[in-house]
Structure formats: structure tokens, C-alpha cells
Amino acid sequence: EPEVTQTPSHQVTQMGQEVILRCVPISNHLYFYWYRQILGQKVEFLVSFYNNEISEKSEIFDDQFSVERPDGSNFTLKIRSTKLEDSAMYFCASSEGGQFTGELFFGEGSRLTVL
């Protein structure tokens, strides 16, 4: 069964460092998303991406964050100058359709720990 894959599964970094989280969405999907879940809290939307551009972003997704689809298969989330409060599980998701069709399929997540 096709699945969304994410790497790394866990990353530990020092405050102020840059991290890149990688995702390979399901191959025929056109819409890509990043969500995060701080321990014990709700899953929160960060950004949606379609046709090589951001469709929507939340207020969490400020200039510290960026997304890219560099090679037609990977979808990356870059977090610059990490802060302690960026520690969370980051989920990538993809869907076949956007607003009208298809459920979102989530990857296993990348746990980011900022020390």
C-alpha cells in the first residue's frame, strides 16, 4: 500500500541551528502539507502546498519556516534558527485532491528535539 515516508524519524539539534525535514508523498498525490504536534497538544496545521507554491499557511508558519519540492518527489520543511519551542513531532501529509476530494494520508512523523 502506498504511504508517505518521512526522514529522519528523530532529530536532535542545538538551539539556533537549521534543520531540514524530508518527506516523500504518495506518488500520484498533488497536495502536500506539514502539520506539527507539540507533546500533549493538538495537531496543528502549518502549510499546504500545491503546484509548486504555498496554498495556505498558518500564523505559526512565519519567516523561520520554508517549504520546497526540490526534485518532483521530495517535499521538505526547513526550519531556520531553531528555538526550544520548535520541539515537536512534524507530520507530512499528502492528498490526491484538494478541497473536494480525498483524505489526507500522514507520514510517521519526524520528532524534532531542540536543546
Partner: protein, 110 residues
């Protein structure tokens, strides 16, 4: 601001019991409501509901949506220990963004 509220926040039952999980929402540009099960890591998809009054079923799980009253319920009959998980309700708006509720932690004891 879009809002999704689930109740109860946690529930402890014994195997064989039936449970009903609730989800109410206030969302602009509603498209669909989705239920997910989260065990250790990734939320896994259960149901997507777009129309009122049409029950979706998968084995012992079923769900229904009421777009007039802005809520959905997820029923699990004859619960098993493997049903222990966090059940997430999420509402999908324009561009596919999901707004999640805080989840219901279900614990099923043998």
C-alpha cells in the same frame, strides 16, 4: 477562527462496551469532516464525511455527520483492547487545511 471540540477528552471502558465519541465544529468554508486514529505516531485515516445523515461503516466503527447542528459522532461497538488510542476529529476547509480537535483518549481494559 476555525474551531473543533471533541468530547469526552478521555474514556475508560471494558472490552465489549460500546462507545460514542463526539465532535462539534465551527469552520469557515467547510468541506468535509475526517476521523483519525492515533496510536503511537501518525494519525491513520478512518472516515471522511461530507454529507449529513449518511452513516459510514467499517467493521465495528461507524460515523455520521450533522451539518445543520455542526457535529459528528464516532461509534465503536464491541470494543477491543486494540481500539485503545487517541481518536482525532478534523474538519477540512478550503485548500485542504485540516483543523484538529484535541482528541479523545480511549482506553479499553480487558
Amino acid at each position: 477562527e476555525d474551531k473543533v471540540v471533541q468530547s469526552p477528552l478521555s474514556l475508560v471502558v471494558h472490552e465489549g462496551d460500546t462507545v460514542t465519541l463526539n465532535c462539534s465544529y465551527e469552520v469557515t468554508n467547510f468541506r468535509s469532516l475526517l476521523w483519525y486514529k492515533q496510536e503511537k505516531k501518525a494519525p491513520t485515516f478512518l472516515f471522511m464525511l461530507t454529507s449529513s445523515g449518511i452513516e459510514k461503516k467499517s467493521g465495528r466503527l461507524s460515523s455520521i455527520l450533522d451539518k445543520k447542528e455542526l457535529f459528528s459522532i464516532l461509534n465503536i461497538t464491541a470494543t477491543q483492547t486494540g481500539d485503545s488510542a487517541i481518536y482525532l476529529c478534523a474538519v477540512r476547509a478550503l485548500y485542504g487545511k485540516l483543523t484538529f480537535g484535541q482528541g479523545t483518549i480511549l482506553t479499553v481494559h480487558p
